[in-house]
Amino acid sequence: MDPVVQGLLNVLSPQYLLLMAVGTVAGAIVGALPGFTATMGLTLLLPFTFVMDTTSSLVLMSALHSSAFFGDAVPAILVATPGTPSAVATVIEGHQLTRKGKAHHALLTALLASALGALMGGVSLLTLAEPLARLSLRFGPPEVFWVGVLGLTMMASLTGRSLVKGLAGTALGLLLSTVGVAHVENVVRYAFGLPQLQGGVDLVVALIGFFTIPQVLAMVERRREERYVAEYREQRGALREVFRETLTKPLLLLRAGVVGIIVGIVPAIGGPVAALMAYNEAWRASKKKEEFGKGSIEGLIAPELANNAVGPADMIPTLTLGIPGSAPAAVIMAALLLHGVKPGAGLFTGASAIMTYTYIWSYVVSGFVMFVIGYFLIRLLAQVIRIPVSLLAPLVFTLAVIGSFAVRNNLFDVWMMLGFGFLGYGLRKLGFESGPIVLGLLLGPIIEPALVTSLTLAEARGSWLHVFVLRPFSLAFILLTVWSLVRGLRGWSLMQRTAVEAEDD
């Protein structure tokens, strides 16, 4: 039988569905705990896979990999803490929806969006692996540089009232990203004599700092007026409404999915950037821009879908070329190697074919499994809102401490998290949103090494123009950047005008 079909039948067998269920639950938990990433979950799983056969290991890992990017939306929505960096964009709209009493609704939307993302990513892995992998090879350092610059224009959707403050925030983030060992040279920057700063600013630590702590402090500040984060209202028929809202926006879904898949195959760029780009795309195309920042469903669907599409898309270069597209992909590839399987064209033909296709289908099916399991988990998780702020605030803080400690088992990281937290709170009061800062922090490590490498390349080729501009994909990204910049500015000024008009009313 055709291995593609065989793979599908395999994955639908009770044995593998059970494995997927286990992986899904594990992934959702790992994703939901701030400070724990999908990579960590996979490395915890790795020793267990030694006693299993290769296919089972892969199916288990794919389920975890997939559902981690739903799990991370849960704390993002409930308590404004991204469970993994990929949920950074989910916080923006998701938490606002919670404060409006629509937590259950938001969680269901995130679940559906994540499931759809996994489905789309899985399908791309299934059908377009070969061409997409070849495409990914065409992206060299100059292309990565321009995509990074494109990413900087996302600032427009994140900046709030003041464009200058958004620019400043982005520059601040870029600067913070340079702390530690320089990416390409072996030189330490801005360590000010502290050895702990050699490792630089960890992304997870910064995210918890810039998002969670300000939220916790705000919770405490409002505690006299709002004893609970939001009113808990049981919503009947929420599921039907979520389906209606989401499935009637095919363009939104398609855009977000494409962003996720493309970002997945571009080397060095990962989930968080995909989510932010998808968010920005949704914002740009939206006819209801004024809702953004106050609980826009579109702004919730797009990043959640994109960050789930990235996972399987990352596996495209990993399986076809043996080049891991991201940290979780690297762990999965290590698992493959240790089981004696070599990535490459050989995976898709011959003896390994059935195993490979079972694995690929498991990403597609993971969307469904995730949805079923997630639906029941959500009912449980939404109850968190019923904890009063007086207990919830310290509890969330405790989780923030655990999360920032768990990344590198370093107390210094906890101090850093706290420092960023106070800074973020203060900056927010002064009108600087955390979004642009985190954007800078994310893009710095992408743009700078790509820039340095491209500059060295230009030296060898003897021409800046040839390396930076006269390449088909670089050109495409440059044009995209210009377009994004223009549309971004227009969208922002439009938003300002409508906001001012609303105030005048």
Binding site: P141, H183, P195, Q198, L321
Partner: protein, 323 residues
């Protein structure tokens, strides 16, 4: 109302605590190791350091009878992980993966700032080594090293050779090669490890690449290895010549080993090194290692120290070459 549920929760948790304390009290110590061992990996998951741990982990766990908990401490080109290893308690329950020449280079480059000194870490065993390789794409006009050198002589600085960041084995071995052959190439440092270096090569963004030979073996369908460093040809690629066969003395190679904080008891060193070497000698492990383009090393505690000392001397001079 609130008082009662709080009281109940507290009581239940307290009871649970007492029970677990009682249960834990029933236990008896014995010879090393008696509890899980933490293994610090100084580089990112999925990288070669990680692969080396995972290779031995299941077998070691069986031999030693305890779990091995892998923890990642990335950053600083390995310095973050090794500083932590150096500062850990020397009781044998914290070990770390070592990589040469990275360990030496960090201390040479950054001195005290690196956060550790070589004498703070006791080498227990060195298990595999990978020579460095110079590679081009399969469709490249360069079929042998000689073609490459001829072109380089005629076009100084034009050839872009990608490698893993600066002051790495890639950089150093290329420098050795350039000096030995009297040519000028442009070294293009690429961030992110060997993966991006290989993609840059395969995607045509650089003309050649230099990194551990194991990567060339892994992608041998798309890549042609022109030469490898070291004294002997690779078992996995017997028709690839060494640089020395052309008269170029390129010696830089990467090796992986295991270490513990200095001061760790002798019985720990013996036990661990015995177990490690036993695992590495298992036929299926040896076969896998060779197939991946790596050379197995069987350096126990004594040879490890000598090995490290030799490398320190070599790299002290090499690093000067690049400065």
């Amino acid at each position: 109302m609130r008082g009662t549920w709080r009281g109940t929760v507290t009581a239940v948790l307290a009871a649970g605590l007492v029970l677990s304390l009682l249960w834990a009290a029933a236990g008896a110590p014995s010879a090393y190791p008696t509890r899980p061992i933490t293994w610090l990996v100084a580089f990112a998951p999925g990288g070669q350091s990680d692969v080396e741990v995972r290779r031995v982990q299941p077998h070691l766990e069986k031999l030693l009878g305890v779990r091995i908990l892998v923890e990642y401490r990335t950053g600083g080109g390995g310095a973050v992980g090794w500083s932590e290893l150096a500062r850990a308690r020397p009781d044998g329950y914290t070990v770390g993966g070592l990589v040469m020449p990275h360990m030496v280079i960090q201390t040479l480059l950054r001195g005290a700032e690196a956060g550790y000194r070589l004498d703070q870490i006791r080498s227990i065993a060195w298990t595999v080594a990978a020579p460095n390789a110079l590679m081009v794409r399969k469709d490249s006009p360069f079929r042998t090293l000689r073609d490459f050198v001829e072109y380089a002589k005629a076009n100084p600085g034009k050839l872009a050779v990608g490698g893993v960041e600066r002051l790495s084995p890639s950089d150093l071995s290329l420098a050795q090669f350039m000096q030995a052959a009297g040519i000028r190439l442009t070294y293009v440092p690429i961030a992110g490890g060997a993966g991006p270096v290989m993609t840059s090569l395969m995607g045509g963004h650089v003309d050649a690449a230099t990194t551990a030979a194991s990567h060339g073996i892994r992608y041998k369908d798309q890549v042609r290895i022109l030469a490898v460093s070291g004294k002997h040809r690779l078992k996995a690629a017997p028709d690839v010549p060494t640089f020395s066969e052309f008269g170029y003395n390129v010696t830089v190679e990467t090796s992986w080993g295991v270490g513990a904080p200095a001061g760790v008891p002798a019985e720990v060193v013996t036990r661990l090194s015995q177990a490690l070497l036993q695992v590495m000698r298992m036929p299926e492990i040896r076969k896998a290692v060779e197939e991946e383009g790596l050379t197995p090393l069987y350096y126990g505690p004594a040879e490890s120290q000598a090995y490290v000392n030799r490398l320190v001397a070599t790299y002290r001079d090499l690093v000067q070459l690049l400065r």
